[in-house]
């Protein structure tokens, strides 16, 4: 794992808060990653439930618990759901989790937004581990936010959210709420929205 640590001059409270936020973003990034037994397991689902309980989201918690109870092979179920929602399925069924598809006008991948996103990562001292996937996948954007929070770069975090994240995520979320019938992904996307939207 890439370690994102805080500079030593931060006070204890903000250090803890930044670390929590970073962990939260990392957790949310995992929910948008293709399910793998390395992380997608019972402790992961337990943590998910704890988070929902802490937030006092009882109906979402109940939905997730029902799904867990009724789904014997949860990994297999999530893999099929993830493929359907984010990789390939009938139109409307799939919501590509790439910013450029939603922002660049002609539904393209690797558009101008992909380039701007990677520029942003690099300008903040980060880059992608692999060259084979576009930088503007939701998972990477959340991992980037985790990295920024981990270093308490809250200005960069806010700027990234404002300029590059929210404009497409809002569209993605809207489509997802129409299509994402699977409780795990529906709730995950609601959580991402909650932790990334501007506070009123």
């Amino acid at each position: 794992m890439a370690v994102h640590s805080l500079p030593p001059d931060q006070d204890d409270a903000s250090v803890t808060e930044a670390a929590t936020l970073s962990s939260l973003y990392s957790f949310l990034a995992l929910t948008m990653r293709y399910p793998d037994p390395a992380f997608c397991n019972e402790p992961f689902f337990d943590t998910f439930e704890s988070l929902l309980a802490s937030l006092d989201w009882p109906s979402e918690l109940a939905e997730l618990q029902t799904w867990r109870r009724q789904t014997p092979d949860r990994l297999d179920d999530l893999r099929t759901a993830y493929t359907h929602l984010f990789i390939t399925a009938a139109p409307g069924g799939t919501i590509p989790p790439y910013a450029s598809v939603h922002l660049d006008g002609d539904g393209t991948m690797y558009g101008r937004t992909t380039e701007r996103t990677r520029d942003f990562y690099r300008a903040c001292g980060f880059d992608l581990l692999s060259e084979t996937e576009p930088a503007d996948h939701l998972q990477f954007e959340l991992e980037f936010l985790a990295a920024l929070a981990g270093e308490a770069k809250f200005d960069d975090e806010e700027r990234f959210l404002q300029i590059l994240f929210r404009p497409w995520f809002a569209q993605f979320q809207k489509k997802s709420m129409q299509e994402a019938r699977h409780p795990f992904y529906k709730v995950s996307i609601q959580l991402i929205d909650f932790f990334t939207k501007e506070e009123q």
Partner: protein
Amino acid sequence: MAMNLTRRTFLKAASIAAASVPLANVRAKAESGLVKAPLVAPGSFKNTQTVVGGVCEMCFWRCQLVGKIRDGRLLKLEGNPKSIDNGVSICARGNAGVKLLYDPDRLKYPLKNVGKRGAPKWQRISWEEALDTCASKLKAVIDQYGIKGISMFPHGSTSTYPMDFFEKTVGTPNISEASFAQCRGARDTGYLATIDYPPSEEYADMPNSKVILLIGSHFGENIHVSHTKQYLKGLENGAKLIVVDPRYSASAAKSHIWVQIRPGTDTAWLLAIMNYLIQNKKYNIEFVKEHGEGLGKMAEGIKQWTLEKAAQECDVPAAQIKEVADLLAANMPHVAIHTGRHSSWYGNDFQRARSMACLTGLLGAFGVKGGFVPPANPGGLGDYSWPKSGHHDKTLQELAGLYHFAPPGTPPDLLRETAITGKPYPIKGCIIWGQNPIQTIPNQEKTIKTLEQMDFVMCVDVMPTDITMFADILLPDCSYLERYDLIRTGTQWNLAEEHRQFIAPRMPLVAPGFERKDSVYITNELAKRMGYGDKIPIQTQEEGINKMLAGVQLSIEKIKAEDGIHIQPGKDPYGDMELTIEFYNEELEEHGYPGIPTYIPVEHPPEGYYRLLYGRSSVHTFNRTQNNAWLMAENNINPVWLNDKQAAKLGLKEGDTVALINQDNVKSRTTTTVKVTPGIRQDCVYIYHGFGSRNPELTVGHDRGIDDQSLITKLAVDPESGSYGMRNNFVKLVKVG
């Protein structure tokens, strides 16, 4: 959800109670996709590079490309300025390759179908699982049914390597290439049976022709850059253009003589021209004396084809047939009788191709300026191949005693029939590689039945297509912009100019995205798992290209240093081709086919129906470009061309929405609009082929326009070659809404 909690207040609370939500423990289980990197100031990596070595595959012509790349991202495609073929020009489709590369609907990862064939539900799986599954399932078929239990439908350069593996090393005879039975098979075999030399659409020396004769070819709608340059240069140089087409095509619009022929009767028209030339001694007597065999038998056999008889059969004026014949005779031998390419039209196409070759011979137009001239392409490239296993069964056509002039491989009609009936043997495993048999083979129901009875179906493709819906395992291929896989060779586009040759291997312009793999990798991994690991001829695509280039003392590195194309002095392509023109072919007669070119009449449309004709849109390559956002922005539907008088009779007007119903009562799944025009005969209608894909995974192309193939249910198979005739179906128009 409770909304009284904000992110800020939650974070504060959660910080205190961090232990109750063990986020950090979970987070530690997976590596982040992001790493620390040196700070890069904005703008410091903005250099756009020109990457050389691209060879287009938006169609089969393979123009040479360069890519404008920034930070690994392809921004733009252009013609390679060094090209002596397409030059700096590329067509609309070539430009739109960027959209194929980055199409969000493209296949990205190996997929397993956890739903049903035809109604798939996909799950992403690892390459290990995908390859293990494919190999074990194929092996299980071989173990139970023998090697001939395996079938393959390959298409394009990506499938050459795996096709070799399955055909030579595994040894299955059940291989059906779309480019043959559904495209150029009848043309190739008709010419081979006449001049014993394979034809090509590249052999028409149009820039230097005095007369260009196009039978069904519609340049302008069919755009291949250097070919279009040749055609236009010919017209610019004063060539007379004769276009035989039931429709006022883009080429007909430029023609000096437009022969608005009755569909299916081209051979009768050609026989009448040849008969007239022979009877009036207006053919190239010297050439025929030297190169012809059996002219007397042909002359005797076709003498019934008077101008008047052909006029009646073809529904064109006798005077016009004479005018064409005289024009050809007056300008021989500098006449380009274009061979065409897609020729599987009416089930009598071998005879048409043979007639065209005979007419070229009568005019002495082989090897002369403006005639049928094979370019002197560079030779000497090295080779590599999968070894032959020694286990080779007879093909189905050999077993059935049919289609004696078909090349290796199996006509799909026999393959489907065998799979469905299990006779003479079961076919239970199917590999589909780059082909979309649903939209290329007539009678889709039979294709679906064929797939339904398989024990295992695997597909390898770039995009979801109609056929990928029927896969058990679906593997993502690299596109032509992400792989090495062939070497394009040729000469300068105008054969009369300074003789030069070029060698241009396809090299990737960008790295493969996601988990896409090339066909060498996929095939080798299958081979290892199926027990053929020791037979693998090359380990990588690069090794294959270098082996071929080594034959001419070149390498990938050298080609890169030469900006993607090696150019060397060429040879004069003109001169005696040392051909024999078999106006009468004894071997044909021995197999029970006519020894001389013969017209086989086709059925006329029943009352109230129109013959369904199809062709190309200038900005599409059939279903391969159906999801391309740029090309669909230009042309996203295939209007049905209907004669204006017939439109008035039916009460239809321009832009009306219609469905089509064919003679077997098959109704189009979707609708299209009507294009009312005097530019088409009254007995036929016309639409672009390749629209109306049934695959809902295609966000842009799904159900756009009508899938003409769905209406081609009545089969007509060319008796000599086994090619399909796909223009023998009839439709009526039903207004919708």
